[in-house]
Every structure is written in structure tokens, then in C-alpha cells.
Amino acid sequence: MARLHEHQGKNLLAGEKIGIPRGKAARTSSEARKIAEELGGEVVVKGQAWVTGRASRGLIQFADTPEAAAAAASAILGDEIGGFLIDTVLIEEKLNVKQEFYAGVIIDDIAQAPRIIFSSKGGSGVEQIASEYPDAIAQTLVDIQVGFPDYCARDLVRQVGIQGKVQLAMGLLLSRLYTVARNSDARAAEINPVALTEEGKLIAADCRITVDDYAVFRQPGLKIDVAREFDRPPTELERIAWEIEKSDYRGTFYFIQMEQDFKKGDKVIGFHGAGGGGSMMSMDAILNKGYKLANFVDTSGNPPASKVYRAARVILAQGPIDGYFSSGSGVASQEQFHSARGLAKAFLEVPLNVPAVIRLGGNAEDRAIAIMEQVNEALPVPIEAYGKDDSPDFCSTRLDDLLKIFLPIEDTAPPVEKPQPEEPYQFETVSGGTVLFDHAACRKCDTHICIDTCVPEILSLKDNLPVLNISAEDARKGGCIECLACQVECYFGGNQGGYVELPIPGLE
């Protein structure tokens, strides 16, 4: 889930007329001083970080002068909490709090509806409140077709003894909180505490909103950077991986790094799973042999060969892994030669310089295994491929065996590089790539293997040279599915005239 910072959440609340403290976000101590001056009086300086218990970590400090506010900001900015750098503080007026409540909207997956939770006691975690004061909690499910009008909200808070003007105000607040949650596609939106001030106003003293990753595309106003939940900021490679995923909805590519700063011989393996369930089991299989994973990857949901290629390139861009292990569910519905070609292209280009075991079980596994065997012949490192009748454990044992006898090689194979064609023929692809033929080489080819192996059948021979049989426009719009046959099959069975250039922004 993509999380919003407190100040971002509060802006959303204010947009729906929920009271928030007067204040503004600051990124430097001088900005903090200015804001404190504008606010006048005592202020609170709050470090913007996705952690609980900010006060006890010194991330929330009171300041009675603008200078003190600047000093507090200085102390907090640049602090690192759980790997996250605090680059923003929120400077707010200090509230005179008379009473605290809890208000939250969460998605109840069992009821398949939004759930409103309200407590007449706020301030600590809602689970704690629920166990200590069960009678102080009121909840209800929302009929998403109807919404949550303020009169429903008033009847809800009435259940825990809230009456009069506060009931009226709380009813409006809860109803508007639901609107905020709904409009921002929030998995959860919580205000804890809702503060009732001495002046009789309800103010959202804190705010936590997490946004549904799958809805980020329709929430441009939220400016969410990476729609993934990390318990630390994304690494460089994770950002690169996210960029690949963000702009290509065909299949999924999930990548997180697990080990960094490792050396050769640390038994760290590049992991490439396919399919959530299969990936987790395959991960267990390799961990059980005493290895560590450099990363977790899942490419599934029928990814095109180009996505598998890009995933492999990201995996291989990590530090000095000792081996490469790829395995999925074992009985995949998708034709496995797509993955095989993606891996083949990456292995030939980088090139791969450690042993690899690939489990490519499922449809067309024989063809996929044959492709990996061709790559094995072409590189000085062992690459073994297996199918559905070989278990993940068998495959991880094979990698373990290979690694036990493998001596790091001095001379790797020359990497396959983008050619400089004498007679270029090219067209663009949907993910910003280019299919590039050197017709000078094609002229001397006697198999024209690209024609038959092109999965969408968009190539035909004209004057004995491979050309598109659809328009370049149609190819670019997705007619070319980036199956990579015209490079990989051509490399092994043709005259090496075909190449597919696939840019990976950020990866040089």
C-alpha cells in the first residue's frame, strides 16, 4: 500500500472540511521558524515519518518560540528512522485538548465493504483501545452504493455516549472521513486522535492514510512515487524495477532486494520466481539449502518475454551473486518459451557468469528447456533447465551441487551487444523498444527461423528478407508482443541478423 505522510493526509481531510490544526510543512529549519512566527504562540514540530510512537522517539517536540521551533526542526530533519530519512516536518499550532477520540475507515475483506470504527477513547493504537475499553467502540459497515451520511454517523457515535454539539460535529467528521477514504481509494484512513479542544472544536490531530496500490494510476493528485509498500525507502534498483512495471501492465514484475553489500562466496543467490505461490515455495527450496537471496522477484500473469528479460537484467545488476535460481509453480499455463527467451537474452548480454538452474514447467516446457540448453552451450557457465516433473527441491539441490564444484571464471564470454547493421530494417515496440534487423546478414540466412518462431506471426519474407506484414504503427501499438524470437531463435538458428533493443531507464 502506498502510504501518505501526516501532512498529506491532513490536506485531504481539510479538502473535505474536516478541521485540522493550523500549520504547514517545512523542509528546512528556517522555513520552520517562519511558519512558527506566522502561527504565533506555542507550536508543535512533528517529524514526518511512517512510524508509530513518534513522541517517544523525539520526533514530536513542542516549541514556544520561533527559534526553538527552528532548533527542533534542525534536530529532527535529517534523522533516520528505520531507513527512512526525515526530510519534512509539520509545524502546527499547539492544541488545547480536552478529550481524544479515534475515527477510522478500513476495508473489511471478509464483509467486502468499508468499515467505520469509532471510539470515544483515542490516542493509542485501536487494538489496544478495543481490548481495554470494548464498550467505547462503535463500528458499522458501509453500503458502498449509499455511502455514509452524517445522520448514520451520528447514530453510530450516539452508541458510545456522544451527544449534543459534539455528536453533531463528530457525525459530520466521520461522514466526511468516509468521503476522503472513498475519493482517495484508501485501504485505510485513520484519525487518531480526533481532538476535542477546550474551545469546543473537533480537530484531526494526526492522520494516517494508506492508498490502494492498484488505484494509484487514478490518483495523480496524491503524487505517489512508488506504489509499493516498503518498510524502508526503495533502493535504486527497486525504483528502476518499479519504472518497468509502472509503464507495462502485461503480467506483473515484483522486485525487492533482500541482501545488499555482499561479496562473492557469501552464498547469495539471484532469485527469479514466477507466480506468487510457486515463487514462495521455490524461495523456501533455495533457503533450505543454506543460501541467502539477494532479492525476491515474481514475474507472473503472462508477462511478455521482454518483461522477463528486464527482470533478469535487474537481478543481474545486483552485487556479486553466486548463482541464479529461477522457478515457478511448475505447471504454468503460459507457454514457457516466453520466459526462456527473456532469460536467454539477458544471460547472453550481461553475460551470465555464474551457474543457473531454471525450472520452467508447464506449457511448451520442452521448447523452453531446449532454449536454455542452447544458452548453456553458448556460455562458459553451467545452465540447467527442468520441467514440471522436477520439484523445486530437486532444482535447488542441482544448483547447490553446481555451486559446490564451480570455480569462478576469469574470461567470460563476449557479451551479445546491439549490432551496427549494414542494412538496417527496424520498427518500434510497445514498451519503447526497437526490433532491429540487419538485412545484410538476413540475406545470407538459410533458415529464416524468425518467420516461423515469431509468436504473433507479424513477419513475412519479402525478397527473401524478413519484414513486417502489419504496419509499423500496429506493431508499435502492441502487434509486436516482444516475444524475442527474432533475436533469440535467430541467434541460435539463423544468421544472427535479428536483435531487440529494450531500454531499461536507470540501468546502464
Binding site: I107, D109, I110, Q112, A113, P114, E127, D143, I144, Q145, R182, D185, R187, D212, D213, Y214, A215, F217, R218, R228, E229, D231, Y249, T252, Y254, I256, A274, G275, G276, G277, G278, S279, M280, M281, M283, D284, L287, F296, D298, S300, G301, N302, G328, S329, G330, V331, A332, S333, Q334, E335, G361, G362, N363, K388, D389, S391, P392, D393, G478, I481
Partner: protein, 303 residues
Amino acid sequence: MSILIDEKKTVLVQGITGREGRTRASLMKEYGTDIVAGVTPGKGGQEIIGLPVYDTVLEASEACGKFDISVLFIPAPLVRSAALEAIEAGVKLLVIVPDRVPIYDVLEIARSAKKHKVKFVGPNTLGVLSPGKAVLGMIGGRADSARSWFFPGPVGITSRSGGITSSMAYYLAQEGIGATTLVHVGGDVVVGLPHPEVVKLFEKDPETKAIVMFGEIGGSQEERVADLVESGELTKPIIAFIGGKAAKSGTRFSHAGAIVEGNRGTYEGKVKRLQEVGATVVDAFGDLPHATKSVLMKHGIEL
């Protein structure tokens, strides 16, 4: 008998003119599914693999009669609209294949489905397959693969992971154990027919004698299945494997649904709860066929 799908149910494919829709419609038709028509707004009047294409679901039903089932192959942002359309046009079961459907859209679909007494599988589902009868979605990938991998038998299969649905059925088949129906519940947090709902259907199906379940960390589907055993609503034997043992709390391993939140949804919690009510839970995925065979023999269930 099988649940949800057989060769007699009439099926509509929404998004049939897209690449996925067209390929999978082919697979389904070849395997024996009675696909009657397709719908892609704006492409009415075309013909895909011999099937008529209409602009709206209502138009298609007026021409072809009401559909029992609609399978959706549509980009995620457009799923909500297409699903609501199908529900309101009288379709009784939807199979929502696409991934990445926003959660509030799923809630809207769920609300409408409840109102109209409609069931839906997914989103983010590989589909449903009844061996020897028909398939919805893309389990098997190719009709001839599906025919060689799966055969009819006494076990109902329900899985939270797509690839694993086929794997489980394949490895059980290799052990001589066939299946009534394979169901991929879907990888998302909110799905139309989670495990507890699927097992209830298997309980009512006279041909299903036992249930094999692939569970995962996150959510409470497997715990709720255990509740059904405890309450006596589920009497057929269950053999289960829970994936994600190696995942730490708080880490998300790509599956939208497989996130461990606090106490709920842990590997240990699920295993314990299922074992408490007498379900067989295997340690290793590879043990499933053997364990299933033992359970079937113990209960005198013929293969």
C-alpha cells in the same frame, strides 16, 4: 457433478476481441466450454473464432438468450463497468481474470453481486476448470495441455495461487487422483469466492469427496474454513498446504493478498487452526499427493 462450470453452462466472453480474450476464448471453446458470444463495446457485428460479437451484454442476451456465466478479459480500470453491466444484464456467475482491479471497484462489484444474488470468482484469477467438461479463464493454457494434465475424480481443488492450481491438480493426477473442479480463488485481498465459499460449494457437490486446499499467509480465509469444519458445515476431509512460511511479518511478497498483518494470517496460526479441527496439513508441497491418497484410503473413497 463439479461446481461452477460444466459443459452445459452458457458462457459469454467480455473483451473477446482483445489479445487475451481471443486466445483464451479459443482455449475454452476447444476444451468444451459452451461459449455462445462475446462482447466488446464498439466492436459489435464482428466475429471472433466463429462467435458473434456484440456491443453490450444486454444486446448479446437478447440475441442469444441469458448467459449463465461471463468471463472478463478487460484492462483493470474498465473491469468495474463491465462487471456491473453483466450483473445487471442477468449473468449469474462472473469470472474476473484481470489483475490490479482497484479495491473499491471490487467492493462495488461485490455489492451489486450481493444485491442480484450473483457470484463472482476473482479478480486476479486464472479461472475455474472441471476436468473433462469445461474451463473458464485460462487454466492449462492450451486445451490439449489441459486434457493431458487433468482428469475427473473425487477431489475438489481450491487454491489462492494461480500456477499452483494447475500444479496441484497435475501432481495429484500423476498420483492417480482426479478432480471434480479446480478453482483459483484469486490472488487479491477481496475476492468474490474465497476458500470458505468454495468449500461450501464442494460440500454440496455429491461427486466431491475430499478437498485439497492451497492456502497462503495473509487474510483469514483458511481460518474461516477451519471454522466451517468446527461448526459442522463442512464434513468432507480437507488436506491443506499453506504457502509463505518463509515470509517475515510486514514483508510483502508480491501477492496482493499474501501480506502478514499483525497476528492475523500467519503461517503458524493457519496451520494450528486447521490441525485443531482435524484437517491434514502437510509441511511440504510435494507431500500433498501422498497425504491426499492416505486420506482418501482412510475414508474409503475410491479414486
